[in-house]
């Protein structure tokens, strides 16, 4: 890695003592000796193991649940169903007033995705919990399911989540988050070329080497200590407090070093049910996702569809951009309404475009609920935007890198969401890329600056 100190030197102090210094990491000696404590390195006498009975169907009504055989299985200590969870219907973003509550801790009457948690089994050993889980009998009436976002948005599609009533999130702005800037239709009308293209992604897993999990120990004073690898301690504590209807003062969350997160450990899934198990049994409880659960049950990065329509002039100026983004939330909201909205704030990308129209939708389908991941709401959008930029450049016969200089935002430029640009540095990154990759661009682009127009 090289630091190129010649850029923006006038805006920076480089004489600091600790900042800017490549100090060794204080946690590395623990890592290389195997001494760093992760949540699962805590072991308590008498600890129970929690295994989840999960839905084998994408969408089904639960006619009945019979746990009688499982309860008799040797080693089983407690079996939990929806009725045991004090506040079973929740949504994590309720803490920042993004509702409605739309997800069940344990399925109640219905399952909406293959893998949904239905019954929790707590036993003396993992093996006993697995054996007992195999003895839980759930009678399902399979319902039609919908997997494709476009199908889900059509009238008459099976309703995935009744708490929403339709297969998309309802923002205060309506069925989508909107950004309206200038007159996009007039922009298209004035353009030399108009190009509309569609981009698609599939769900992506964070795949941290340490799976999601927690170990809960009753403290004997009505308090519970939860050793967890959540990425957000109080976010998890406060949601747990709501779900278990338990004062937050009874909860003590201890994190530490997490074995990789990438956004995959911000959902509040394992902690509430494990703490409930510890409360109802008085025993320590361990609930750790298997690798299979981490891959297919934990929230992935949402699949997205992005449709971009651009109006571009022969000289390279983009005069209008319309973006319609669809985020596949799966069966429940989790963080997806927030992610879809983040996309609306990100488009049209780091370019100054006078006419912009953005609609972003959060769509429900019968698949594993998606959630946050590294680059949430932006990563797939950037793929779409930057492939579109390449197509536009080739369409009008410009060099793809020079085409980006022509449209790059600079300090003071008004963005579509009506914030003036500050601290821009796209141009300088591209100048350095031109040099580093031996990708020549015209001198005038190398003379540009993010500081102000007309440079």
């Amino acid at each position: 890695m090289e630091l190129r100190k010649n850029y923006f030197a006038d805006q920076r102090k480089d004489d600091l003592h600790e900042i800017g210094q490549p100090r060794p990491r204080s946690d590395s000696p623990g890592h290389v000796t195997g001494k760093t404590a992760y949540f699962a390195d805590r072991n308590f006498p008498g600890m129970l193991h929690l295994k989840m009975v999960r839905s084998p169907h994408h969408h089904a009504r639960i006619r009945s649940i019979d746990t009688s055989e499982a309860e008799k299985h040797p080693g089983v200590v407690k079996i939990l169903t929806a009725k045991d969870v004090p506040h079973n219907v929740y949504t994590i973003l309720i803490l920042i007033q993004i509702g409605p509550e739309d997800e069940t801790v344990l399925a109640d009457g219905k399952v909406r995705w293959k893998g949904e948690a239905v019954v929790a089994v707590l036993a003396e050993s993992e093996r006993a919990a697995q054996e007992a889980a195999a003895k839980v009998k759930v009678d399902y009436e399979v319902l039609p399911a919908v997997f494709d976002m476009e199908e889900a948005l059509k009238p008459g599609a099976p309703i995935v989540n009744e708490y929403h009533g339709q297969n998309h999130y309802l923002y205060d702005s309506g069925e989508c988050r909107k950004v309206r800037f200038g007159d996009v239709e007039a922009g298209f009308a004035s353009a030399d070329h108009v190009l509309e293209q569609s981009y698609q992604s599939s769900p992506i897993e964070h795949a941290p080497t340490e799976t999601t999990g927690c170990v809960v120990a009753p403290e004997g004073n009505d308090r519970f200590t939860c050793y967890t690898n959540t990425q957000a301690m109080f976010f998890t504590l406060d949601n747990t407090s709501i779900i278990l209807q338990m004062p937050g003062s009874k909860l003590h969350f201890v994190g530490g070093t997490v074995g990789g997160g990438f956004g995959g450990k911000v959902d509040v899934i394992v902690e509430p049910i494990a703490i409930l198990g510890a409360k109802l049994t008085g025993r320590p409880v361990c609930f750790v996702y298997s690798r299979e659960e981490e891959m297919q049950i934990s929230s992935p990065r949402a699949a997205e569809k992005v449709v971009i329509k651009d109006g571009v002039m022969k000289d390279g100026r983009i005069v209008a951009r319309k973006v319609t983004g669809y985020t596949d939330a799966g069966a429940y909201s989790r963080h997806s309404p927030y992610g879809a909205q983040k996309g609306a704030g990100h488009y049209p990308g780091p370019y100054t475009i006078p006419n912009v129209w953005i609609d972003t939708y959060c769509v429900y389908t019968n698949r594993t609920p998606s959630s946050a991941m590294r680059g949430f709401g932006v990563t797939i959008g950037d793929f779409a935007l930057e492939v579109q930029m390449d197509k536009l450049a080739r369409l009008i016969g410009l060099d793809p890198l020079e085409f980006r200089f022509i449209n790059a935002y600079r300090d003071g430029d008004m963005k579509a969401h009506r914030q003036p640009t500050e601290g821009a540095a796209l141009i300088e990154c591209m100048q350095e890329a031109s040099r580093a990759a031996n990708w020549p661009v015209a001198e005038k682009y190398l003379a540009m600056s993010s500081y102000a127009k007309g440079a």
């Binding site: 060794p24 990491r25 946690d27 590395s28 000696p29 623990g30 890592h31 290389v32 000796t33 195997g34 001494k35 760093t36 404590a37 992760y38 699962a40 390195d41 072991n43 050993s125 093996r127 964070h206 795949a207 941290p208 080497t209 340490e210 799976t211 070093t257 997490v258 074995g259 990789g260 990438f262 298997s290 690798r291 299979e292």
Partner: protein, 160 residues
């Protein structure tokens, strides 16, 4: 439950425990003996975080039954440093900034240790091959490869 005795040498010390028959070595080490340096990343044999050295060979402790290790000599990452002095591999991982979350690190170090025991001056391809059963999600592998190559170089300087 049928308890069976297991007895082996772990990092130079004799260990004897009773475990449930069918218990994996990973569970025995972590939950019975208290050596938590091998990590359970998948329990499928696909991530390498649980790697240990058994009688000189790299093994996955998650797929090895503890009772098949009777009489064996087992090395884990927690036994690598001596007298508080880091092993050259550990030192190299530190210096190369080759750890981020650290969860894969003990397994990586085990794989690298076996490589250097048999191949003191490995090529880059040999390092890549030696680490190929171990998943890292943070680093992009390059710093880890560099750390192993550096450790090998410092070893050979030692020898010379």
């Amino acid at each position: 439950m049928a308890k069976v005795p297991v007895q082996f040498t772990l990092n130079g010390a004799e260990k004897a425990e009773f475990v449930d028959s069918g218990t994996t070595l990973l569970h025995a080490l972590r939950d019975k003996i208290g050596d938590t340096s091998p990590k359970g990343g998948c329990h499928q044999g696909t991530c390498g975080a649980c790697s240990v050295i058994i009688d000189g060979e790299l093994r996955l402790s998650c797929l090895t039954l503890a009772e098949t290790c009777n009489g064996a000599t087992i090395t884990t990452t927690s036994g690598l440093s001596e007298g508080g002095v880091l092993h050259p591999l550990q030192r190299a991982f530190l210096d190369a900034f080759a750890t981020q979350c650290g969860f894969c690190t003990p397994g990586m170090i085990m794989a690298a240790r076996v490589l250097l025991d048999h191949t003191p001056n490995p090529s880059r391809d040999e390092v890549v091959e030696a680490l190929s059963g171990n998943i890292c999600r943070c680093t992009g592998y390059e710093p880890i490869i560099q750390a192993v190559l550096t450790a090998a170089r410092s070893n050979s300087q030692h020898a010379a």
